[in-house]
Amino acid sequence: MSTTVNLSQMQKDHGDFIERVRKLSGQDVRKCYQCGKCSAGCAVHNCQGMDVSPNRVMRMVQLGMEEEVLKSKTIWVCVLCSTCTTRCPRDIDIARVMDALRILSKKNNTFVNAKNANTFHETFMNSIIKYGRVYEAGLAVTLTLKYGYGFNLIGIGPAALAKGTLPFFPPKLKNPEQIKKIVENVEKIERMEGEK
């Protein structure tokens, strides 16, 4: 984030951002006083996996930097391990904030820095909507096709098949439509909530 930002303009334009995050996550990010404990203990951040550290994500939410934060890679590579949440002296569930930012980023279609994450989650959801359970072999094949052949899964698949631990055929449920039905119901409930 080397470019200069006009903070007062930002807060004027996105003043309600922190409120939307609160609604989705139940967490009040205003409480964060930037001690940095969340970042210090974050395993992903410590392996240089993030583009913005977790405490900076919190600061960006405070400042209404909506676009920037929703485009960050961090919100998608966060593993939701809740180490930060466990240690935050201000009792903020940072992992839930990250998850709420993901939901917003999906709504706005702003996952430019985390295409694999989006592909994975969508493929996973489609798989369980279709079969009711995860169909690993099918998931691995679909993902490999979508990611391109450079992807590592190719290496895992055959070894796991040889061990007999990766079932070749999709799971068979008496009623495979259970998850599909729930997804439809949740969409209905959320639509009604939105109209209120």
């Binding site: 998850d99 993901r102 007999g164 631990t165 990766l166 729930i182």
Partner: protein
């Protein structure tokens, strides 16, 4: 003792050895498991990133038969377990969310079935009984009990044990004669869930866990999470290639070692389904 049992997708797939050993251990401890009929995926670790309610409603369905039977429920997968615990947390603390969940699944959940991790279920038999069931004590085997993140964080919701320094698996392992080592990475995340997203970061995170376990003098890493087990075990050779290390530490489910201590062979405990060779570690036992 009787519990409802929710194996979850991975125990019916790549973590078959876990499923087999959980069942064997419970049988030995007179714990009866009643598998939830026609169960569905818990949605981890994707559904909640599509919407909070969706992330709760999908796993909620699994709790319905357990409540109807009046049984507490055991989920041996850490990710499934945490999703179910979240459902109960919301159902018992947030009336609006409870109503929405119930509307989405067409049921009346009340949160009456406790969601137990497999460590708690096994420990409910009592350490004495576990020690009595042990026919081949694992004397001299040094184990690093690895809890991962899901079971202990965030502690307000997921609280099997202390979030920074848990010891339930250590205690169970000590009851079957093994020697738990003290080590600092018990609850650090191994990065398994990033495997499909940012594989290089997964490898870097796992490498640290392996490093510390070995430095602490462990012969074996013992876990209760299928994501951790598969990741640390299966990726070990890739990690060695990438970081120029030569790690060869077996990673087993704690129930596999228990089953072995209860008198089953390594094959019956499905240890041969794991990737990293475990023979030399078990050879120490004579």
């Amino acid at each position: 003792m009787k519990y409802a049992y929710y194996p979850g997708c991975s125990l019916h797939g790549p973590a078959k050895g876990y499923d087999l050993s959980v069942k064997a251990v419970c049988k030995n401890l007179d714990i009866e498991l009643w598998e939830v009929p026609d169960w569905t995926c818990c949605g981890a670790s994707s559904a909640h990133s599509f919407g909070h309610l969706l992330g709760l409603a999908i796993p909620a369905q699994t709790l319905v038969p357990a409540e109807q039977e009046g049984l507490d429920i055991v989920a041996p997968c850490a990710a499934c377990w945490q999703r179910l615990v979240w459902v109960n947390h919301e159902v018992t603390t947030n009336a609006k969310t409870r109503d929405e969940i119930n509307q989405a699944i067409g049921a009346e959940l009340t949160g009456s079935s406790k969601v137990l991790s497999i460590m708690e279920a096994v420990a409910s038999a009592g350490m004495e009984k576990i020690a009595q069931a042990t026919k081949k004590p694992l004397k001299g085997l040094k184990i690093a009990a690895y809890y991962g993140c899901y079971y202990v964080k965030p502690p307000k919701v997921a609280h099997v044990d202390d979030p920074e320094s848990p010891k339930l698996i250590d205690d169970i392992m000590a009851a079957v004669g093994a020697e738990p080592v003290d080590w600092p990475y018990k609850t650090e995340c191994c990065g398994a869930s990033l495997g499909f997203v940012e594989f290089d970061t997964t490898l870097a995170m796992s490498a640290k866990v392996l490093d510390y376990a070995i430095k602490s003098g462990a012969d074996m890493i013992v876990t209760a999470c299928p994501l951790c087990q598969q990741n640390l075990d299966m990726q070990q050779s890739t990690i060695n290639k990438k970081f120029g290390t030569n790690h060869k530490i077996p990673v087993t489910y704690f129930t596999q070692l228990m089953a072995y201590a209860f008198g089953m062979s390594d094959k019956e405990a499905a240890m041969h389904k794991n990737f990293t060779s475990y023979q030399s570690a078990l050879a120490k036992l004579g």
